[in-house]
Each structure stands twice: as structure tokens, then as C-alpha cells.
């Protein structure tokens, strides 16, 4: 273990050189850490949000758009589908569960999602304050929404049209917060959930509710209220944006999507398939970044090589003297390799820290902390690649100098 101590001392005998090498290696390893972490975060987010959803049925169009809009809540949906047609899916023996999703409005750019309580149950989200909705125009806030907006049970707000925020306000329809969900780490955290009927009520041409219009806005429009929502428009005219479907058997994946695509006006998109496609496309982008990080690492490796090489040249006499003192050539080579190992160790630690910092910074900057990048630090096992690469590069760079020290002519150098 003395070897480690001496290697450490020799390394820091040239502090500027050592620092430069640690820095260069750190940049390369930090970039690789960043890439590994981002892909892990994204894949984890997908896994979590897609769990248990076998297929999504919605309007014809891009299947990927359907998944992005309805499951991950990142994109706008392709269109609406008939509610009765969605309900009819329940009769299919291959279908275990159908969760309708209605999109259209948002509040402070958080989406208001009309659905059923099954949606909350699906992500196993606990209610930490209040209760779930039991009537239209009652909402339950996801954990992130409640925290960011600082809203509590009992407060009211009016949604605005569109999913991005900035649409016209539905000032005449106010939602009341009745519950707040605990954090699940899933997409639910950044959604505002309500009953499907709420979305119908806000968007259908005639505002119809008379029984619950307690506030001034509702009262102003009372002259328009000429019937109850559920009676004014029959179910077969109502629309939802899509439905999340769980199968009774995995075998359904073979026949159910084809059945939907040919026998209905809707399309069925399998999240697993679409996300694989998406990750593949992202993969092309990360390949470029990966190559870039590889170049950085290669540069760092070259620098370590040059540093060790010149260190060996400078210290040839000292190293030869160690031979004279009885050190086997292998012990001298080991000393140099250990110096490289120290570099690898230091820069791995710094690189991992830098990568984590980048990811956290990116998350904070883009406000993605609960969308694609998880809020906390993750340490996936793929990060083991970082120290492995560091050791590989450093030892690789040290190999030739070590060999040079190994076979050097001792007395010639001591002249």
C-alpha cells in the first residue's frame, strides 16, 4: 500500500500537470456521466408513466403523438374520439380496463385532465389532503402542481383554453380544489385531475349545470342553463380525447390493435412500441453527443499519456536509482500505473459529480424536474462505466511510459 502513497506524492510533485489532467479527464467523464444519466432518467420516466398501459386508443393520426399527448402529457393530442365508441371497448373480452382521458384546458400551463378515478388508482397515487372528486368541476391536484401553485383544498380557479397556457380563459366555469395527491414520481404529479364531465361542461356549447352554480360567474350565466349536462347531450355525441386500455391477456397485443384500427374510426397505439421508436430516434442524437464525449476523453487520455511520458523522462534517473536500490522493474512499472490509477479515481469522482450537477441544472433550467428528469439524483448501475472508462484511459495512457521505465538501462541513466 506504500505504492499508493508514493504514487500520490509523485503525482502531486507536479501539481499543475496533475490538476490539468484531472480537469481534462473530468470534462470527458462528466459528459459521459451526463449522457448516461439523461438517458436513464428519460427511460425511467417512460417506464413509470407507461407501466400497465397496454394500448392507447384515440383519433387517427400519429401514434407517437397519441402516446406523447395522452400518456406522457408532453404533446398535443391529434383529435377527439366518440365517447360511446370508447365505452364500447369495455365489452371486448380482451380489455380489462378503460380509462378515458379528456384534454383541452390548462391552468398556469398545468394540464386539466378529465378522466375517471381509475386513473388515480392506476398510478397508485395517495390522496394526502381532502378527497377525490365526486362531481363535475371538482379537481384534485398532482403533488407538483399543488406545490408550485401553492394551492390548497377549497380554492377555486378558472381554466384557460389550450394546453400551453395563454389561451382564453373559461372564466365562467370555475373549478374547486377538493383534494391533493401525494408525490408518485409519475406524470400524475404535474396534472390537474377532474371528472370527464367537467371538460364536457366547459366546452359544450350550452353551459348546463344549474344545481352547482354557486358563485357569481355561474349565476351570471344562469339564463343559459337549460338542462342538466348528462341529459342535454346524449353519450353517443360526447367526445373524449383518448382512452388508456389495459388488456386481460398479453395475447391481446396481437389482435386488439388491429381490430381497433380496422373496425373503428379510432387508432390503437402501443406505448411500448412507440417509446422504443422514440428512444431509437433520441439515440441518434445521443450518438453524436457520445462521440463528442469520446473525443473529449481521448484528448484527456492523450494528455495523461504525455504527462506521464514526460514524467518518466524527467524521472528516468530516479526510477533507475530505484532499480539500483533493488526494486524489480515490475514494481517501478506498478508505481507509474498507480499514479495513473489515482488520476482515474480522482477524475471519476469529479466527473460523476459534474455529470449529476449538469443533469440537476438542466432539470431546474427547463423545469423538467418531474417530467423527464427525476427530481432526485439517480445512480444507475450504468454509471459504473465511468470509473471503468477512467481506469481504461488512464492505464492505457500509462502503459507505454511504464514499459519504458520497465526496460530502461539502469546504469546508463545514472551517469
Amino acid at each position: 500500500m506504500k505504492t499508493f502513497a508514493y504514487a500520490w506524492r509523485y503525482l502531486w510533485a507536479r501539481p499543475m500537470g496533475a490538476l490539468l489532467n484531472v480537469l481534462l479527464l473530468t470534462l470527458g467523464l462528466g459528459s459521459i456521466t451526463f449522457l448516461l444519466l439523461v438517458s436513464h432518467h428519460v427511460e425511467r420516466a417512460f417506464d413509470r408513466d407507461l407501466a400497465g398501459i397496454d394500448v392507447v386508443v384515440g383519433a387517427k393520426g400519429s401514434p407517437m403523438q397519441l402516446i406523447l399527448a395522452g400518456v406522457l402529457h408532453l404533446d398535443v393530442p391529434p383529435g377527439n374520439v366518440n365517447f360511446a365508441a370508447v365505452q364500447a371497448l369495455r365489452k371486448n373480452p380482451l380489455v380489462a380496463e378503460v380509462i378515458p382521458i379528456s384534454l383541452g384546458d390548462s391552468f398556469q400551463s398545468y394540464r386539466i385532465v378529465g378522466t375517471t378515478q381509475a386513473y388515480v388508482a392506476h398510478y397508485q397515487a395517495p390522496v394526502v389532503q381532502g378527497r377525490l372528486w365526486d362531481a363535475p368541476m371538482q379537481v384534485v391536484l398532482g403533488a407538483t402542481v399543488a406545490r408550485k401553485l401553492g394551492m390548497a383544498v377549497g380554492q377555486s380557479f378558472a381554466g384557460s383554453h389550450g394546453l400551453g397556457g395563454g389561451g382564453h380563459s373559461h372564466g365562467d366555469h370555475t373549478y374547486t380544489v377538493v383534494g391533493i395527491l401525494g408525490a408518485t414520481g409519475s406524470v400524475l404529479d404535474r396534472l390537474i385531475l377532474t371528472d370527464s364531465a367537467s371538460v364536457w361542461r366547459v366546452h359544450e356549447p350550452a353551459p348546463m349545470d344549474r344545481g352547482e352554480g354557486k358563485d357569481a360567474h355561474e349565476a351570471d350565466h344562469e339564463d343559459h342553463d337549460d338542462g342538466h349536462a348528462d341529459e342535454s347531450i346524449p353519450d353517443d355525441k360526447r367526445e373524449v380525447t383518448m382512452a388508456l386500455v389495459r388488456y386481460t391477456t398479453p395475447m391481446a397485443a396481437v389482435s386488439f390493435p388491429r381490430w381497433v384500427n380496422t373496425n373503428t374510426d379510432m387508432q390503437a397505439a402501443a406505448p411500448a412500441l412507440e417509446v422504443t421508436r422514440l428512444l431509437h430516434m433520441l439515440g441518434l442524437g445521443t450518438d453524436v453527443l457520445r462521440a463528442f464525449a469520446g473525443m473529449l476523453l481521448l484528448t484527456a487520455g492523450l494528455s495523461v499519456f504525455i504527462a506521464l511520458w514526460s514524467a518518466v523522462r524527467e524521472r528516468r534517473g530516479d526510477l533507475a536509482l530505484l532499480r539500483m536500490l533493488g526494486a524489480p522493474a515490475s514494481r517501478i512499472a506498478a508505481l507509474l500505473l498507480t499514479e495513473a490509477l489515482w488520476l482515474a479515481l480522482l477524475s471519476s469522482a469529479c466527473g460523476l459529480a459534474l455529470g449529476q450537477l449538469f443533469v440537476q441544472g438542466l432539470g431546474a433550467m427547463l423545469g423538467l424536474e418531474s417530467a423527464l428528469l427525476a427530481a432526485g439524483m439517480l445512480w444507475p448501475s450504468t454509471l459504473l462505466l465511468v470509473p471503468a472508462l477512467a481506469v481504461l484511459v488512464s492505464l492505457g495512457a500509462a502503459l507505454l511510459p511504464a514499459w519504458d521505465a520497465y526496460r530502461s538501462e539502469v546504469l546508463q541513466l545514472l551517469q
Binding site: K2, T3, Y6, R9, Y10, W12, A13, G317, D318, A320, L321, L322, R323, M324, L325, G326, A327, P328, R331, E409, V410, L411, Q412, L414, Q415
Partner: protein, 227 residues
């Protein structure tokens, strides 16, 4: 304690060198001289078991050095040979004390702190133990290098041009110190030199008839191991 018979060395690149026979008694002093290229370094390398002879006998302190190879040669060298190089090669990264401790690491032996202190005291440099080489004067550095050479209580001390680049007074001091250190360890001494002052200094210190090994000029060499 040191004997050679018909010692021959073959350079890896071709060419051969034959050395005159020599015998040195226990505690004796040998002066190795010869012009550049006569093979002084090669002879030292042979005696230190750094290279193996092509033919002939070489015995140091009862050990058949010619037969030593690899790790066995390294281990034997660590125990039996003290080396004082022309350039001292003290590690700049380490303190005086750690430069000596490094010898134990090199030899693969457990560090003996008491012995280090003892040797530093004997050479009057114990007070400098915490300094790094750049903080030492030339004379101090030479004492530290000598301390390192005698640390393992070797049977034979090899000194390579110990007076080069020293003025007359310092050269005499250096030889005196070397002789004294060798005596204290009951070690034999080989001084490779072309400096006439060494013989004078030895004579002044009572070593009037050191064993002389003078290598003939241009004996033979073809590659880099020359001096």
C-alpha cells in the same frame, strides 16, 4: 570479498568486452579507472547484478553473482550493494527521511524507522530529515545520498565518480566521508573515477595501496552502455 575471473560481457547489439581479473579483500578499497568507453559502467552493472556476464566468474561476499537473474538479482542487490551515483537522484517529491524510506519500498522490505534515524545521525543530517532535496546544499545532499547507500548495511558500496564537479577541499571531504561510512558498516568500497585527487585523498586518509582496476581504452563496445 570481490573476485572476478575471466569476466566477459557481450553487448546485446554485438561486441564483447573482457575484463582484467581482480580480487578485493573484505573492507578493502578498489579504484576503478579507465578512459571513456572502457566499460566502467558495464563492470559496475555486472557487479551489481544488473546485467549478467557472458562468461567468467564473479563472486561478491560469497555470492556467485554471475548466476543471479531477475527477482533474485534484485533482492540480492537490495541487501548487498550500496550505490552512490554521480548524480544523486534524490526524489524531489519526498523529504530526506522519505527518500531513505523509499529504499525499503524499493527493496520490498518493511520500513525500519530506527535504522533511518541512526544512519541520518551517523552522517550528521538528522536535522534535515523533514526537508526536501531542493532545500539542501550540495554537501548535505551528498550526505543524504550516502546515508541511502549505507541504509541496508551493504557488504559492498559502489561509488560512481563521487568527486566529479567538487572543488579540491570538497572532494577530499567526500572521499573521507565515504571511507568513514564504509568503515562504519564494515563494507568494502569500489570507487569508479578518473579523478587523480581520489587516490591522493585516500593516501592522505591512510589507504595508501587501494586495489587498482584499470580498464584498457577502447576495449570494445557497440551500443549505448558505455562510459
Amino acid at each position: 570479498m570481490l573476485q572476478t575471473q575471466e569476466l566477459r560481457y557481450a553487448y546485446p547489439g554485438g561486441g564483447e568486452l573482457a575484463f582484467p581479473d581482480v580480487a578485493l579483500a573484505q573492507g578493502g578499497v578498489l579504484l576503478l579507472s579507465g578512459p571513456s568507453g572502457s566499460g566502467k559502467s558495464t563492470w559496475l552493472a555486472l557487479v551489481a547484478a544488473l546485467v549478467a556476464p557472458r562468461a567468467g566468474r564473479l563472486t561478491v561476499a560469497g555470492q556467485d553473482v554471475a548466476a543471479l537473474r531477475g527477482r533474485a538479482a534484485d533482492a540480492w542487490r537490495a541487501r548487498s550493494i550500496g550505490f552512490l551515483p554521480q548524480k544523486l537522484h534524490l526524489s524531489a517529491a519526498l523529504t530526506v527521511r522519505d527518500n531513505l524510506a523509499l529504499a525499503y519500498w524499493a527493496a520490498g522490505l518493511p520500513e525500519n524507522g530506527e535504522r533511518i534515524t541512526q544512519v541520518l545521525e551517523a552522517l550528521g543530517v538528522q536535522a534535515l530529515a523533514g526537508r526536501v532535496p531542493s532545500q539542501l546544499s550540495g554537501g548535505q545532499a551528498q550526505r543524504v545520498a550516502l546515508a541511502r547507500a549505507v541504509l541496508m548495511a551493504p557488504a559492498l558500496i559502489l561509488a560512481d565518480e563521487p568527486t566529479a564537479s567538487l572543488d579540491d577541499a570538497a572532494a577530499a571531504d567526500a572521499i573521507g566521508l565515504l571511507l568513514q561510512a564504509a568503515k562504519a558498516q564494515q563494507a568494502s568500497l569500489v570507487i569508479a573515477t578518473h579523478d587523480a585527487r581520489v587516490a591522493q585523498a585516500l593516501a592522505a586518509l591512510g589507504v595508501s595501496a587501494p586495489v587498482q582496476l584499470t580498464l584498457p581504452a577502447g576495449a570494445a563496445h557497440t551500443d549505448g552502455v558505455n562510459a
